[in-house]
């Protein structure tokens, strides 16, 4: 039945891969920043994504039932981002700060514990059942389909994917400006390169830590909301399931390199989807049951061949 489309590679492999890559990329930014600046692998990062999506759902549901407003998820996400960042800063103040000078392995384990605490709290408040984020089926955008069909390149892209890709590009532009042009962004890069040297030159390391949580939290909530927009439901392990590919993306791009994380995220997302394309014959090249394995093979090969990642990140 695909003969009538002709453009199946782009529609069913490339674009879904890019969308997934955008979500991985946003999530990986937070991971690589905490890794670079706070020097530990934050396992609770997926839960930030999940909590942000749940908060967004709550806000849009409340707005719908109390005020009768049908908010677009991206509007409802704005207060959710603020709430999630507030929670993150509180967690850092009372939970991670006492660990600041502790050995890395202790902080990693502590973040693992925090992951379970956050997930249990969300399960306690919202229950273990799935919640419907957006009901129904988002069919491909008709105008784009008609327009591209005239050129024999029929694009089948649902509106939600346009939102996700456009949102990611805007966030990336803002993020680039922050890191390259602002004082705090430069301070963040300095602390990432060498925390001791940075504090000797008078940079307020605690302020940089706060900024890290704010930027990482913002990107994580964006990733969580984009993920929820794509899969259209919420469940409490949705963030955790994305965590390992996001780690792979962060390592692939180079630890402490935000642009590397974005690049890595796109590569991992594309690799997962494209590995199932029938490159040879009619059957998928690699059974889609092993998609995650593809992401990790790339990560492991990278660690062996070039441990610093594509963008010359930190090695341990």
């Amino acid at each position: 039945m695909w003969t009538s489309f002709g453009f199946e590679f782009v529609n069913f492999y490339l674009i879904p891969g890019l969308v997934l890559g955008c979500i991985y990329a946003l999530g990986a930014i937070g991971i690589t920043l905490t890794f670079g600046i706070l020097r530990f692998a934050n396992f609770a990062h997926g839960e930030v994504m999940m909590t942000g999506a749940y908060l967004t759902w709550t806000i849009s549901t409340l707005a719908g039932s109390l005020l009768g407003w049908a908010l677009h998820p991206l509007i409802a996400a704005i207060p959710a981002v603020l709430a999630a960042i507030g929670i993150l800063i509180l967690i850092d103040r009372y939970f991670y700060k006492p660990f600041r000078d502790a050995p890395t392995i202790m902080v990693v384990m502590a973040s693992f514990g925090m992951m379970l605490v956050v997930r249990s709290t969300v399960q306690f408040i919202w229950g273990p059942n799935q919640l419907t984020f957006v009901k129904g089926i988002d069919r491909p955008n008709e105008a784009v389909r008609q327009f591209t069909a005239d050129f024999d390149m029929m694009l089948l892209v649902p509106n939600k994917h346009f939102w996700i890709m456009a949102g990611t590009i805007i966030i990336m532009l803002g993020f680039t400006y922050l890191l390259e042009r602002t004082r705090i962004g430069k301070a963040m890069r300095a602390v990432s390169d060498s925390p001791d040297l940075a504090s000797v030159t008078g940079i307020d390391v605690e302020a940089v830590v706060r900024a890290t949580w704010i930027v990482g939290g913002f990107c994580a909530v964006a990733a969580g909301v984009f993920l929820a927009m794509d899969i259209q439901f919420l469940e409490t392990t949705m963030g955790f399931r994305m965590l390992l590919p996001m780690f792979a993306a962060a390592i692939l791009g180079g630890i402490g390199r935000p642009f590397g994380a974005v690049f890595g995220g796109l590569i991992i997302g594309l690799a997962e989807e494209l590995s199932a394309y029938p490159w040879i014959g009619d059957a998928p090249l690699i059974s889609p049951g092993y998609k995650t394995g593809v992401a990790f093979s790339i990560m492991i090969i990278m660690l062996i061949v070039r441990p610093s990642g594509l963008f010359k990140g930190r090695t341990f």
């Binding site: 879904p16 089926i137 394309y277 889609p288």
Partner: protein
């Protein structure tokens, strides 16, 4: 102050010890991919225990029949953990549950069989469970094996005029086994399986899977749990119009599917499930009990959950104690002929017959629960379609 606390705790401990009870463990998938399906099943378990206790409890002394619940999460690791605690710490006499096949197999192999404890699953239906025991007789189930459901589903599909179908299944014990039975029976009945691929549960996107599978057919046999990818596969298939017809089984039969995808998109969807023949006297007795207690009588595996809990009470009554070694034999005795027929809820009657040295034969709410030599029961199935925004079931004859 400390002394008072310690002595009051000690007094409390003694008072519970003095209150005689027989405990059974009940690991259920309260969290995980199918919490909506499990909630009414847990209610049915509680109802059965309540019926037993309301009718005088166990043995001559009226000991309490206590269900100790744990969360097996539909996950092999969580189930092993939960059952280990139930057996070693709560010291339960037997296990009723776990819900999912993977969880049931894992906990049986690594915990309950080595400990010599009977497992009576309420809903595990994988064909792999039939032959899992070597020299023991400890694993039973109150739900029919999918070896039968796969055949029923294949007949149903051909009956709908679908001759070519693509199969997609989640990579776990329950779904993979059911898909294998289905694909084999469908092919042997003259149908053509155009593609048969596993998918990994809980991914964010299944668009590439759907695209590859959709190349050969516009009908999809989907074997997955609704909460760990099943709904996403259907959503991706509908978004891209890759498939028009969907068939599937128990794991997908949830109101969540309608709630999330919208009834208007589900016009060509049929899911089968293990079901009860509502014409039997046993079902009538069960329905009266369930309606009075506000338990949905005909939901998937809800009658089976009641049967399992009730049969376990009868078996312990028959065995005369909560002794783990005697339960398997007693379970076979009360569930199979010969004996006087006992319907759901008739605990006092059964107790009287057993006390007089008589035999009983329990007729379950879900159907006759006669265990074969593998501890399996036969069963009937129903097919459900969406009608007026809800699932509407019809028994397959």
């Amino acid at each position: 102050m400390r002394k008072i606390i310690i002595s009051s705790i000690a007094a409390l401990a003694m008072s519970t010890a003095a209150f005689a009870e027989v405990k059974v463990g009940n690991p259920m998938a309260l969290t995980g991919p199918i919490p909506d399906l499990v909630a009414p099943m847990a209610k049915a378990v509680d109802l059965a225990a309540k019926n037993v206790n309301d009718q005088g409890g166990l043995f001559a002394g009226g000991e309490k029949y206590t269900v100790v619940r744990a969360d097996s999460g539909c996950d092999p690791v969580a189930a092993v953990d939960a059952v280990t605690k139930l057996i070693n710490i709560s010291l339960v006499s037997a296990i009723i549950g776990p819900v999912c096949s993977g969880a049931t197999i894992a906990q049986a192999e690594s915990v309950s069989i080595p400990a010599g404890v009977v497992t009576l699953s309420v809903s595990a239906s994988s064909p792999a469970i039939t032959s899992m025991e070597k020299n023991t007789d400890l694993v039973f189930r109150a739900a029919a094996s999918d070896a039968y459901q796969g055949i029923a589903l294949a007949e149903l599909t051909l009956g709908k005029g679908i001759k070519e179908i693509a199969v997609s299944y989640a990579n776990d014990d329950y779904n993979a086994a059911l898909a294998a039975v289905f694909a084999e029976s469908f092919a042997s009945m003259g149908g053509k399986v155009t593609a048969n691929e596993a998918h990994e549960p809980s991914k964010a996107s299944y668009r590439s899977e759907v695209a590859t599978l959709g190349a050969g057919s516009d009908s999809l046999a989907l074997f997955a749990y609704y909460g760990s990818g099943g709904i996403t596969v259907m959503r991706n298939a509908l978004e891209t119009s890759a498939f028009k017809n969907f068939i599937g089984a128990d794991g997908m039969l949830s109101d969540e599917v309608i709630k999330q995808l919208g009834a208007e998109n589900l016009t060509n969807v049929t899911f089968t499930t293990s079901a009860s023949d509502s014409g039997t006297a046993a079902y009538g007795a069960w329905k009266a009990l369930a309606d009075a207690a506000g338990v949905p009588a005909s939901d998937p595996f809800v009658p089976n959950s009641y049967d399992a809990t009730f049969m376990m009470a009868l078996a312990i009554e028959k065995a005369g104690s909560g002794d783990r070694d005697k339960i398997a034999g007693a379970l076979r005795s009360i569930a199979n002929a010969p004996g006087e027929i006992i319907l759901p809820g008739e605990f006092a009657k059964a107790k009287k017959i057993l006390a007089g040295g008589g035999d009983i034969h329990y007729m379950g709410a879900a159907g006759p629960q006669d265990f074969d030599k593998n501890g399996d029961v036969a069963g009937s199935f129903s097919k459900s379609v969406v009608k007026d925004g809800a699932w509407s079931a019809e028994l397959i004859k």
